[in-house]
């Protein structure tokens, strides 16, 4: 943390109990399934924010916007001409073997041509200060609501901290989201589609609906009639939906198009989408672009589609599908982090230096048998951040940053983000499902 840019964070630390009480009062929590049972818990909050200087954020934002513009171009291309495959920048195997690629929406151009309206870009800052992208989340990235609501609470509880530091207001997120939704709307009301209370991010669904004024819909509230999506009120009156910000995975979105066993989807939604009568945010099929294997090629996409040098770098990544990379991975497995491309939420991530000799041998066999299933990365030693522990004592914790990039008429980066920190000293697992907490992310205005 650039301490020289900060003044008097102590009130935030001293009043952390009041902050936590307000977070609980406002219902700031997330759900988690353990042993098949749903549990809701308060999201642990650390009052010491991550601080990003104004100049540093400007550079970061330019890199993030560039990356998301390239990813949108890739999605437009891959669901139409597939020129990037023809030009052999990306092997076609990586497209068609991706579980995120949906042939059902091939040749379907989404309203306004935008696929990734909301991108959650996961980054870490290496010890030398370089920002490194770890993942692009282009399906249903969650987390913006937590720093958003925390900011309102902390400004009220410790206003003098904000008076002394020039922090950019982050409470414009609902406006950015509304603008992105309005831009692609096909005429009609905006809707946020939630699978319901027992979704891990239900708090966020309901909170964003409240702040944007969109109707919060459960699948049973929506119906497709004559290729139009409608929101049905209690009197049976149908209201046309112009844009649906769905918080349901592709495979469950429409049982007539994808998983026929889905009971949380809207039958025929994809037909309405194909007909150009409703925008879906984010567009179905984006999973092909945030596949952990495709991630490897994103810097190349930037050059290919935009003719620019990528401003942000990936963590050094190896694809075992390539002979040379596989040989390297198998030889250096004990110093790499291996990720299962089918997993998310911190699951399926293995640090080679934690494995026994037998476990390493087992993993080598799996990689040889299914090379497309894994990627391997050099372990990025990222900066730990100043924090306070549960007792209020100063400590340091590893943390990442999920930045939010919203695309409507323009691609804009939200001047904040979700900083997730690891629960244990030295741990790099920051996922909330694995016990991690969150911090606000301050972007200084000067």
């Amino acid at each position: 943390m650039p301490d020289t840019l900060l003044h008097g964070l102590q009130p935030l630390i001293e009043r952390r109990q009041s902050i936590n009480e307000d977070l609980a009062r406002d219902g700031v929590r997330f759900g988690i399934y353990k042993n098949g049972q749903f549990h809701e818990q308060i999201f642990p909050y650390d009052p010491v924010p991550r601080v990003i200087g104004a100049d540093e954020f400007d550079l970061l934002a330019r890199g993030l916007a560039q990356r998301v513009r390239a990813l949108n171009a890739f999605l437009r291309d891959i669901y139409s001409d597939k020129q990037i495959v023809r030009d052999r920048v990306i092997p076609e195997d990586f497209i068609y073997s991706s579980s995120g690629y949906l042939p059902q929406i091939n040749e379907v151009m989404p309203p306004a041509g935008v696929y990734a309206h909301i991108a959650g870009e996961d980054l870490v800052q290496a010890e030398d200060g370089t920002w490194v992208v770890l993942e692009d989340n282009l399906r249903i990235p969650s987390g913006a609501s937590y720093p958003l609501i925390a900011r309102g609470i902390t400004r009220r509880i410790a206003p003098e901290v904000y008076a002394a530091n020039h922090v950019r207001d982050n409470r414009d997120y609902p406006d950015l989201l509304s603008e992105a939704m309005d831009f692609c709307s096909c005429g009609g009301i905006p809707v946020i589609l939630t699978p319901g209370r027992y979704n891990a991010a239900f708090f966020e669904h309901s909170y964003l609906a409240e702040l944007t004024g969109a109707a919060l819909a459960q699948p049973s509230d929506l119906v497709v009639d004559d290729n139009q999506l409608f929101f049905v009120d209690y009197a049976g009156e149908k209201h046309k939906v112009g844009v649906v910000y769905r918080r349901i995975s592709d495979e469950y979105l429409d049982p007539f198009c994808f998983n026929p066993d889905s009971v949380i989807g809207v039958p025929n939604l994809i037909s309405a989408y194909r007909a150009g009568n409703v925008a879906i945010v984010n567009a179905p099929g984006n999973g092909v672009a945030d596949d952990k294997g495709i991630y490897y090629f994103v810097p190349a996409m930037v050059s290919y589609y935009l003719g620019e040098q990528p401003l942000l770098q990936n963590a050094p990544t190896y694809l075992p599908l390539f002979d040379r990379d596989r040989a390297y991975v198998l030889e250096h497995l004990d110093s790499l982090v291996v990720k299962d491309v089918a997993e998310a939420g911190g699951y399926g991530v293995v640090f080679g230096d934690t494995l026994t000799r037998d476990q390493l041998a087992d993993l080598r066999d799996k990689i040889k048998a299914e090379p497309r299933r894994f990627i391997a990365q050099e372990v990025v030693r990222f900066r730990d951040l100043p924090s306070v522990d549960a007792a209020g004592n100063p400590c340091r914790r590893m943390a990442d940053l999920r930045a939010f990039v919203l695309t409507g008429e323009d691609t804009r980066v939200w001047a904040s983000g979700l900083t997730r920190y690891a629960n244990e000293p030295g741990s790099m697992v920051v996922n909330s499902s694995q016990g991690g907490g969150f911090k606000d992310t301050w972007v200084l205005s000067r």
Binding site: R25, R197, A215, L216, F231
Partner: protein
Amino acid sequence: MGPITLTSADQLYWLGRYTERVYTTLRRFFSTYDQGIDHGPEDFRSFCRELDIPFDPELSTDDLIRGILYDRDRPWSVCSSMRAAFGNAMMLRSELGTPTTAYVELALIRLKESKEPDTRLLRQRSVHDDLLAFWGSIEDGTALPEVKALLFTGKYIERLDLYARFGAPSERLDLAAEKLARQIEAIAHPECLPVSSTLTWLAEALSGRGYAAVGEKVAALAAQADGAAPVRPAGPGVPVVQASSAGRRPVEGPAPQQRLARAEGRGR
């Protein structure tokens, strides 16, 4: 905030019912507890009977109270009602707003904190305060008039049911029925909701408990909600229920006025 779905309408109605159930049951509990200070747990026998709660005379007073208030596995406990209210409230954040739903969250937190016998009554007062603030916040907030009406319809249906169970003076039920009528009028399409059938049930329950006139009034509301010609109930101050009607109340126990006086800690 979009149009009101059937799901939301149902949740609003039940949020109104459960919050009222917690509030009024706790008030009744206060006075019963107060009586028990002098007379022991026997007073809880009638409290349990009024609410159809199984009464086990072998239980200690503290176990009895813990069961009534905090046993989350019993659908009749205050805790269960509070959790049910909370479950509905969290689904209605976009209709009611976070500042308003926060009061339900607070009431649940305070109820959990009130388990300690030493501070029980003090903490429960906070639950009351939070529920009053919740209703006030809805009244004064930005929710659509129909949203408010659906919630308060549930609230006053529950109030009528509980007041009749507790044997409240008929004037009190009459006032609640007046308020209920105003809420139903603000619902654009009550015929599309199970309002009429609920009111019919309530009217029969009220009549069965000795409040025939209020029952008739509620029956008229049921017809109105079903799409029949609107029937305005009698205005405030009109004595639609005679004190003697309480004599037909099938539940054994003291006369209504006497019971309510005890419920409010008066009369002794």
